[in-house]
C-alpha cells in the first residue's frame, strides 16, 4: 500500500459519504493525486515521494501554483484533512500579500477604495506603503471596504494557532492623518 492509497483508505473510513478520486503517479518519481469532495467542499491532494503530501483548496489557485500546505506523514495529512472537512475551512497558503496586491485582486481602483473610505486617493496610496504603521482599526476599515473581514492570528512554535479578538468598537474613519501614521 502506498502512502497515498493509505490516506485514501483512512479517509474512506472517516468520511464514508465523501467522493474520493485517487490515482497513483503515472511515472517513477511522479505525482499522485487524490481529489476529495465532501458536502460541497473540495480538497486536492498531491503526493510525491520527494515532497510528500501537498493539500490545497483549489478555488483561486493560480495556474501551476504549488500546494498550499505540505505534510510529511499520512498521520499529519489525514488529521489536517479531517479538520478541514469537519470545520469546512479552506487551506491556508503561507503567503502574505501586500495591501496593494489585495486591492488589485479585488479589482478595486485606488479612487474607488478612497471613495468607500471617505479619504483621498493619495491617502490610499500612502496607506498602502505604510501598512506596518497603521492602526488595527484602520486596517480593519480598509479590509471591510474591500468586502472582507480582518482576522489576526498568532502562530506559536509548538504549532498552536490562536485568533486574536478585535474589539467590535466601530472602526474610525481612516482619515488621511490616521491612515498615514507618519503624517
Amino acid at each position: 500500500m502506498t502512502p497515498l492509497s493509505e490516506l485514501a483508505a483512512r479517509l474512506r473510513k472517516t468520511f464514508p459519504d465523501a467522493r474520493l478520486d485517487f490515482s497513483e503517479p503515472a511515472v517513477p518519481g511522479g505525482v499522485g493525486f487524490l481529489d476529495i469532495s465532501h458536502s460541497g467542499d473540495v480538497l486536492a491532494v498531491q503526493w510525491q515521494e520527494k515532497w510528500h503530501f501537498g493539500v490545497s483548496s483549489p478555488e483561486g489557485h493560480g495556474y501551476g501554483e504549488k500546494p498550499d500546505e505540505v505534510y510529511r506523514t499520512v498521520d499529519e495529512v489525514a488529521a489536517r484533512i479531517t479538520d478541514l472537512l469537519d470545520s469546512r475551512r479552506k487551506t491556508e497558503p503561507p503567503l502574505a500579500v501586500t495591501l496593494r496586491e489585495l486591492r488589485a485582486e479585488r479589482r478595486l481602483p485606488q479612487t474607488e477604495l478612497a471613495a468607500l473610505l471617505g479619504v483621498s486617493q493619495p491617502a490610499v496610496s500612502r496607506l498602502e506603503r505604510h501598512v506596518s504603521r497603521m492602526l488595527v482599526a484602520s486596517l480593519r476599515a480598509v479590509v471591510q471596504a474591500m468586502g472582507g473581514r480582518l482576522v489576526i492570528q498568532a502562530h506559536f512554535p509548538d504549532g498552536v494557532v490562536r485568533q486574536i479578538a478585535i474589539d467590535e468598537e466601530a472602526a474610525p474613519k481612516p482619515e488621511p492623518e490616521r491612515v498615514m501614521i507618519d503624517g
Binding site: E59, Y63, E65
Partner: protein
C-alpha cells in the same frame, strides 16, 4: 524584478501569459509546444511575479510553475494528447503542437481558459473527433 515595478496579481499574470502564448508561432509537435509554454510562463513570472524560481520548495511561493513529466495524468489523456495535471488546472498538449489549459474542480474538468492550435491548424479538441 525585470519590469522594475510592483508585482502583478496572479490573475493578471495568467492573462499576460495567455496573451503572449497566443501570439507565438504555433508549435509543430508536443515537445515544441511544451518548450513554448514553459519559456513563456517563466518569462512572465520572472518579470512580474516578484518571486524567484525555486522548484525545490514543495509548498506554494506564489509563483506559477509550468507542468512537466512528473504531472502526467493518463486518466484524462486520449490518443495523440497528453495531459499534465496540477492543483487547479490541467494542461493538454497534442502531438501536433496544439495546447489547451482547463480549470478543474476536484476530479471534474472545468472551462477552457486557453487554447492554441498546432502548426497544422488543429486544436486539442479536434483530436477527440478524428482519432
Amino acid at each position: 524584478m525585470a519590469s522594475g515595478g510592483d508585482p502583478l496579481p496572479k490573475a493578471q499574470r495568467l492573462a499576460l501569459f495567455c496573451d503572449r502564448l497566443k501570439q507565438k508561432d504555433p508549435a509543430a509537435n508536443h515537445d515544441e509546444a511544451m518548450t513554448l509554454l514553459v519559456s513563456t510562463l517563466h518569462d512572465v513570472e520572472d518579470e512580474f511575479s516578484g518571486v524567484p524560481y525555486n522548484p525545490e520548495e514543495p509548498g506554494t511561493d506564489g509563483r506559477m510553475y509550468p507542468p512537466n513529466d512528473r504531472f502526467r495524468y493518463p486518466k484524462w489523456e486520449r490518443p495523440g494528447v497528453r495531459c499534465y495535471r496540477q492543483v487547479a488546472h490541467a494542461t493538454f498538449v497534442a502531438e501536433n503542437g496544439a495546447l489547451e489549459i482547463r480549470a478543474r474542480t476536484g476530479s471534474d474538468l472545468g472551462r477552457i481558459i486557453f487554447e492554441k492550435q498546432g502548426q497544422d491548424g488543429r486544436r486539442v479538441s479536434d483530436h477527440d473527433a478524428t482519432e
